[in-house]
Structures are given as structure tokens and as C-alpha cells.
Amino acid sequence: VGISVTAGQEAGGTVGDAVGAEHLADPAAAVTALYREHALGLTRLALVMVGDRQAAEDIVQEAFAGLHRRWSGLRDQDRALPYVRSAFLNGCRSEFRRQKAARPRDSGYAEYIPPAVSAESAALIKAERREVLQALRRLPRRQREALVLRFYADLSEADMASAMGISRGTVKSTLARGLTALRKLLGEES
């Protein structure tokens, strides 16, 4: 989106904002322009993924800060988007690992209330929705990622495959397994 600089450094590509010349010389402006465009959507996506508002904001900030650090090393600025996507997903994964580690051993999944549904957004989310989100967070990492990318971000299977670094076949089977597991958790077994 927006950034499509295909020109890269050889012939001068640029990124996103209205006027591009200074972007070449100013990675901060380029990255900030990208951030302005994508931060809201990505923060929402991260929130759904990890369930914690503060963590979601941090994941997005960190992904763009990483892009900024690597900016001058990107041979082709087309690589900017793929970089941010994978940094973003990696951020979500570490956050999820962190939450898992912080979870008391014997309380088990059932008692664990993920931050998303205990924090400020709880008031805004109906109980029925809360149940779905809790079920989502009880799924294995890859299934949860697949379900969120498919049914919240509306990605195609091909885009999911490249974002998650797995084959399309694996995307399909992960989605199917994820849906089955979700149904089971929601008591919708057929």
C-alpha cells in the first residue's frame, strides 16, 4: 500500500507520502509516513491477535522502528512492506510467548483471562464476543494467526502463506483445524 516504491535505491524509489524527494534522504520521514497510514489497522490487528492494548501498540511501534533501523540497508524499498509484516507477526508471537510464560502454571487455560477481555475493552465487548475471543486465544499459535488473518484481516490464502511463511496447503489445513478447534471450544460441535 502506498509505498510501492519499486524504484528502489538505484533509480530512487520512494515511499508513501505526498512528495517523495526528501524521503530518499530522510528515512524517518518515510517510515513515519508509512506508520501514519498503517498504524491504526495494524494496532487493531495486533489487539485481536494478542489481546493486550499496550502490547499491540508496542508491537506496531517496534515493527516500524525496526524498519527505520534497516532503512538504508534495504536494497529495494519494496522490501519495506514485507519487512514490516514479518516484524509485526514476530512481535505478536513473542508477546504471546510472554503471556504464556507469565500465566500461572496451575490455573490452566480455562481460568486464564487474557488482558484484552479484562482491560478497558471489556466494557465494550459483549459476553458472547468475549467467549469467542477467549476461545481464540486458547488455540495454538499458528491456528490463531491463521483465523485472525483470514477472518479479521480478510487476507487471501496466498497472502497468508507469504505473511506466515508457510505453504498454501499448510494455510488451508491450519485454517480447517483452527475452525474445528474453535467450534469445539464454543460448543458448536457438529
Binding site: 524509489g13 495494524l42 475471543l133 477472518f151 479479521y152
Partner: protein, 222 residues
């Protein structure tokens, strides 16, 4: 069947909606120039201008760039209150979305009620392929830009066309026009597809001259 996924869509959307644009903190970036200095390297700008012909060439291709599609998202940011739901900009954005879907981008999302394309999936569009270009060309008149941005986009588009015309009359007869509003850019693959080698001194100097003539030369000291 399907109930679980509908419930998931609904719950995820509701959770996502708890974050609004005004909640997003500004991006905090460390000072790269300072880091460069610490590493005893000249700052990025100096390194770039050392490759002398590249800079004008780059600027020519780059300046022209890019009222990015999703930039109309950020048009809401500077100045002025956000438009109300059901406002003209929303309806314009909605017609744009419909037009894009009807012209080869079947998964193009609807805007939110402010007329913004904030849904995360917009992020995953790569916007390079021919279907995108076709759709964009077809829908050019419907781009939901706010007036100031629209005027700027038209200016950029005009100067980009002047630049392309100059390139064509300066030894690159197959030089392409820029992509339509709101994109307005030239890309290396697009230029290479015309059999033009961009990594040559002749291209660089021609490009710099044309950029200057078209009024899109590099901005110095900005």
C-alpha cells in the same frame, strides 16, 4: 457450519473498533543521524549525494511519486474536524471502493464511516499488478481525496506528465506516463519494461534535466 467464523469476525471487529485513530501514539524513532555519527559514517544524506548523478535521477523518479492510495486515509489528520458519518467524503470513498471491486480488485475493502480505509487488510495490498493499475485508472475520477490533497495530486500528476514528455523528447521515446491519481509515480520496473536502462549516466543526466524543467527537481536542504 460457518457460525464459528461469523462469531469470530464479529467479535474481532468489535475488539478492533475499541482502537480509534486518535488513540494511536506518534511513532518514536531514534535519531539515525546520531547513530551514523557514532558509527563514524557520514550521514545518509552525504552518502547519497556522493553518488552524484543518482540524486537527480532519483529525485526525478521519486518526487513525482506518490500520493499513495492509502494516503487518502491520512488526509483526515491535518486540520479540520473529521467528517461526519454519511458525509460526502464517505460516499465518495464508498463509490471508489465499489469501482475498484468492479474493475479487477474484488477484495477491495469498504471505507469506515469517516471515509478512511483503515481496515487492516488494506495493508496487505501490494498495488503493483496490472489489475490494480487497470482498476485505478478506471476509478481515477472517484478518488476520495480531500480538496487540498486533490489539488496537490493534480499538480503532481501534471508535473509528472511534463517530466515524462520531456524524457520522451530527449532520447527515451518509450518513456511511460506516471500511474494515475492517487498514485502518481514512476517505478523502475515500469521504466525497464520499456527497454530503458536506468543505471546509466545518460539516463541520470537526462532525468535530472527533465525533472528540473518539469519543476520537480530535488529539494535542496529540506
Amino acid at each position: 457450519m460457518g457460525e464459528a467464523q461469523e462469531r469470530l469476525r464479529d467479535a474481532a471487529a468489535a475488539l478492533g473498533q475499541t482502537v480509534q485513530r486518535e488513540d494511536i501514539p506518534p511513532l518514536q524513532l531514534p535519531d539515525l543521524a546520531a547513530q551514523d555519527a557514532r558509527a563514524h559514517r557520514p550521514p545518509l544524506r552525504a552518502r547519497l549525494s556522493a553518488r552524484t548523478w543518482l540524486v537527480p535521477a532519483a529525485a526525478a523518479v521519486a518526487v513525482v511519486a506518490v500520493i499513495a492510495v492509502v494516503v487518502f486515509v491520512s488526509q483526515a489528520a491535518p486540520g479540520g474536524p473529521p467528517p461526519a458519518a454519511g458525509s460526502a467524503i464517505y460516499h465518495k470513498a464508498l463509490s471508489y471502493a465499489r469501482c475498484m471491486r468492479a474493475n479487477g480488485e474484488p477484495t477491495w475493502p469498504d471505507p469506515d464511516r469517516q471515509g478512511n480505509y483503515d481496515r487492516p487488510q488494506a495493508f496487505w495490498y501490494s498495488f503493483h499488478g496490472p489489475p490494480y493499475l487497470t482498476a485505478m485508472t478506471a476509478c481515477q475520477g472517484l478518488v476520495p481525496l480531500r480538496p487540498a490533497a486533490a489539488a496537490q495530486a493534480r499538480r503532481d500528476y501534471r508535473s509528472s506528465r511534463r517530466y515524462a514528455a520531456c524524457m520522451r523528447s530527449s532520447g527515451y521515446p518509450s518513456f511511460p506516463d506516471p500511474t494515475p491519481i492517487p498514485d502518481v509515480k514512476f517505478t523502475t520496473p515500469q521504466i525497464r519494461a520499456q527497454g530503458i536502462h536506468v543505471k546509466t549516466p545518460r539516463f541520470g543526466s537526462t532525468s535530472a534535466t527533465c525533472a528540473f524543467r518539469a519543476g520537480i527537481g530535488p529539494r535542496r536542504g529540506s
